[in-house]
Each structure stands twice: as structure tokens, then as C-alpha cells.
């Protein structure tokens, strides 16, 4: 499909039609091209689970899953998510059952202020989907895109390590 919008004038707004699946729900939206996925979620759709930390891809607080892959929502244009599946922290649980990574963060007390937590959890789910984390060192390295300024890393590491088998099984069940 080819689509082109005119160059915007000073006060002009050139919104683009976008259709995406957000946490399993089909959404049809008109979005200005310069809107990031993060601003769409938080400002337009009032889904504030996804956090804005640095807004420059350095902290990972805005991590969400696009087509199952973890990305920084602050460096993703919403208009480029047309036709994609977006999963945020609000979409991980199945009904009242928390995702194993979510449950493990509670069980291991893996946060203090909690601001980085949704990004940490979505990033860990994305890491599980990638299937490359086999050791504690792997988890440390592959989670380095998520900063915790409280320094809760030891418990975050324990939570993720503990939940890896259950998270893999959960992902497998989701595919059926």
C-alpha cells in the first residue's frame, strides 16, 4: 500500500489513518506522523502503564512488544505501527492471572519506586521470546537496555531467572 501526506503548513495537521491491534483489541486511529507510540499510548489512549523515562531510548522504561518483539516506544512512530500487534504491560495478564514474569516481580520484591517496572517486565517477556537467555550472565547482558535507578537489579535478576521456565511455557500456550 502506498500512502503520502502533504507537507504540513505551519498550523496544518496531517493525520494518517492507522489500524493496529492493541492488547488484542483492534483500534482505528488518525495519528499525526510525529506522534511516538509512547505518546499515543499515554496521552491519547490514557494507557499510562508504559512509562516515559528518558524519551531517548536510553532507559527502557517505555519498552513494549510490537509483533512480539521488545522495542522502545519512545523511538517508534505510531504511524509506522499500522497493521501491527502492540502489547503493553496492561496486556500481559490473561484475565486475573498475571504473566509469570509479573508474578515473579511481586514474589521477589523486584522493585522499589516501580517506575521502571513495566519496561523491565515487557523487556523480560521480549527476551524470553528471543530465546537466547540461558544463564544469569545472559540475563544481565540482555536486560542492559533497562535502567533501574533504585538499583533493584539483584531482585530483578532473581525474578527473571526464577520465572524463565514458566514464561517459556506461557509463551508456548499463547501460540496454540
Amino acid at each position: 500500500m502506498s500512502a503520502t501526506t502533504p507537507i504540513p503548513e505551519a498550523d496544518g495537521i496531517a493525520a494518517c489513518p492507522v489500524s493496529l491491534e492493541l492488547n488484542g483489541q483492534r483500534r482505528h486511529l488518525d495519528i499525526e506522523p510525529w506522534t511516538t507510540l509512547l505518546d499515543l499510548l499515554r496521552d491519547r489512549l490514557a494507557m499510562t502503564g508504559t512509562k516515559k523515562g528518558c524519551d531517548h531510548g536510553q532507559c527502557g522504561a517505555c519498552t513494549v512488544l510490537v509483533d512480539g518483539k521488545r522495542v522502545n516506544a519512545c523511538l517508534t512512530l505510531a504511524v509506522m505501527c499500522d497493521g501491527k500487534q502492540v502489547t503493553t504491560i496492561e496486556g500481559l495478564a490473561r484475565g486475573d492471572e498475571l504473566h509469570p514474569i509479573q508474578q515473579a516481580f511481586i514474589d521477589h520484591d523486584a522493585f522499589q519506586c516501580g517506575y521502571c517496572t513495566p519496561g523491565q517486565i515487557c523487556s523480560a517477556v521480549g527476551m524470553v521470546n528471543e530465546g537466547r537467555a540461558r544463564s544469569r550472565d545472559d540475563i544481565r547482558e540482555q536486560m542492559s537496555g533497562n535502567i533501574c535507578r533504585c538499583g533493584a537489579y539483584p531482585h530483578i535478576l532473581e525474578a527473571i531467572e526464577d520465572a524463565l521456565p514458566a514464561a517459556r511455557a506461557w509463551a508456548g500456550e499463547g501460540e496454540r
Binding site: M1, G12, V71, N72, M80, E130, G145
Partner: protein
């Protein structure tokens, strides 16, 4: 971000027709959108190339591998053919950025990322790369991260990529297409030294789009090493990095490719340094001679003199580990 219009062409031909000085191609967007938020770049139009058919990794005619420009960094690093035949490239890619960014960033985009020189990013300071003729804030500023080789009075920026250092050592080829047609560029000729035109990072014309990277048949899968030295254990740009690809015959070096990152405006290679290794015993004496040749004429700045010795030792260690087949 400033307003811009958005185009989503369906073919490479359509994409290059839309290109121009006020437009930018966008794929992963990891660097472009960051620079737009910082007001360093203010394109009037973004051309979304993510719907173009440039995602294939396939055998090339000469026994090598052709990688589509839109293959993500993560997919490339973990591609079975790349892991088996070009592990140097996998190692370099995985040494860079974060899991999130490697899922977003593309092969073509990695070549086009801009320097992380603080003065390029800070629009309150002069920078000849951002605003030609305005001066260089880094040359007499806080220049710990800046160049020690190949710099000019106008610019002391370094190219930030890890992947490109490996591609330089592997002697890849860049395939591009513009309105005048397609052409191939040897990797060594793709990026430029700054000279008096630091605003030009590479030799691409405004209307040219990277379509693929081609890896030659020889992948140096036995004797290789990407060694990256940085300020923290993960998710930081290189102070110095070294990509080594060797062909060995017992203790004797038959072929040697060495490229450095973090030291110059482009991945740094010198064939005369590599020639000092060929036909010689793989030992510290020859490694040191090659390192000295690679770094000859280095001109450190006020805060980065440490890089010269750091690079020298990193080269020797990377050569040693590659020769012995120690990969991690």
C-alpha cells in the same frame, strides 16, 4: 519533534523518487528520531522504507551472503548462516546497543547512524558537522570520546558503530540504488574522513538508498575476535574496539584483516599494518608491530591520550585471542 509529512512507498524506485535534501528515509528510527527530538535534524518529510522488499538474507552469486538493508540487527546477529560463517559480525552486533534497539535498528541504518559526539548533539554549541562553518566545540572541549586518527581541524568526531567495524574487517560491499540506477561501494570507501566537509559522513548522494550489504565468501569463522572496551560492562559506545579476522596455517598468519572502532570518523584500517602480519609467526612481537603501524601518526586531544595505548593493547590482545581461536 517538528511537524513533517509522511510517505510510505511500496517500491525502491518510488522511495528514491521521493528522496531529497529535506527528506529522510526512516526504518528503525532509533537514531533519526532521537536527533529530531534534539532538534539536530529537522526533515520536512520522512519516507518510511519498512514496507520495501529488503528483508531477505540469501546466498550471493560468489559464495557469499547478501543481507537486505531492512534485516534487523538482532535478526542478523542470530541468523544461522551469520552465526556459523561470520561469527565476527554476530559478536560485533551483540556488543552494541540494547536488546530493544537491536530489534528496531536495521542493517542499512546501522551504517548511517551519526556520531555521538556531545557537541554534535548539543545545539547550543558550535559543530561543523551539524552546522557547517560554525566551528568545532569538541577539539578544545571535553573530547574523551573523540578521534585520535584521521581527524581534521573541522571535526574530531568518531563513527559509533560496532557492526561497521566488523563489516570493514570482513571487506563487505554496500549495494545502493538512486534515481540514476544502482551501484556497489566497497566498505572501505563508504564512510569518509571528515576533511573540510564533516557534514558528509559517507559517499551516498541524497537520493541514494542502501538496499543490501554483501559479505564475501571468506568469513574467517575460526580465527576472529571483536574486542570492545567501554566505560561499563554493557550498553555503552566503544572507547576503542577492534575487529580481527585471521586465516592461520599452524602458527603462521596467512591473511589478516584488522579494523578499529572508536578512534576515527570511519572504521580504521591500514593495509600496510595488516601486511606486517602476513607470513609471520603469530606472536606478540608481530602483533605489536602491526598495532604500532595501525596507530602511527595518532594525534590525541586533551582528554583522550589514553586511547592510543588502550588501542595498542586492545589490538595485541584481540590478535592473540583470534590467532589462538579464543572467541570469548
Amino acid at each position: 519533534m517538528n511537524p513533517f509529512s509522511y510517505a510510505r512507498p511500496a517500491s525502491v524506485d518510488d522511495a528514491v523518487k521521493l528522496a531529497g535534501p529535506d527528506a529522510r528515509f526512516i526504518a528503525g528510527g532509533t537514531n533519526l528520531l532521537d536527533l529530531m527530538k534534539e532538534n539536530v535534524l529537522r526533515p520536512r518529510q520522512l519516507i518510511d522504507i519498512t514496507h520495501l522488499p529488503l528483508r531477505e538474507v540469501a546466498a550471493s552469486g560468489n559464495g557469499g551472503l547478501r543481507v537486505g538493508a531492512l534485516v534487523s540487527n538482532a535478526d542478523l546477529a542470530w541468523h544461522p548462516e551469520v552465526e556459523a560463517r561470520y561469527p565476527l559480525l554476530s559478536q560485533a552486533i551483540l556488543a552494541g546497543a540494547s536488546g530493544q534497539l537491536r530489534n528496531m535498528a536495521t542493517t542499512g541504518g546501522n551504517l548511517l547512524q551519526r556520531t555521538r559526539c556531545w557537541y554534535f548533539y548539543d545545539t547550543g554549541t558550535p559543530c561543523n558537522k551539524r552546522e557547517p562553518g560554525s566551528g568545532c566545540g569538541a577539539r578544545d572541549g571535553v573530547n574523551r570520546m573523540n578521534a585520535i586518527l584521521g581527524a581534521s581541524d573541522a571535526c574530531v568526531a568518531v563513527h559509533p558503530s560496532d557492526m561497521c567495524v566488523a563489516l570493514a574487517a570482513l571487506k563487505a560491499t554496500v549495494h545502493v540504488q538512486g534515481r540514476q540506477g544502482a551501484r556497489e561501494i566497497a566498505f572501505a570507501d563508504f564512510h569518509r574522513l571528515p576533511g573540510d566537509e564533516p557534514q558528509r559522513d559517507n559517499v551516498l548522494a541524497d537520493d541514494e538508498l542502501i538496499t543490501a550489504i554483501e559479505l564475501p565468501a571468506e568469513g574467517f569463522a575460526t580465527h576472529y575476535r571483536y574486542l570492545k572496551v567501554r566505560e561499563r560492562a554493557s550498553y555503552a559506545f566503544a572507547l576503542v574496539s577492534v575487529a580481527v579476522a585471521l586465516e592461520m596455517d599452524g602458527d603462521t598468519v596467512r591473511q589478516a584483516h584488522v579494523a578499529l572502532g572508536g578512534v576515527a570518523h570511519k572504521p580504521w584500517r591500514r593495509e600496510e599494518a595488516e601486511a606486517l602480519l602476513v607470513g609471520q609467526r603469530a606472536d606478540d612481537t608481530h602483533f605489536a608491530a602491526a598495532a604500532d603501524a595501525l596507530l602511527a601518526g595518532a594525534q590525541p586531544l586533551a582528554y583522550n591520550a589514553f586511547k592510543v595505548e588502550l588501542a595498542r593493547r586492545a589490538i595485541i590482545r584481540a590478535l592473540d585471542e583470534a590467532a589462538r581461536g579464543v572467541t570469548r
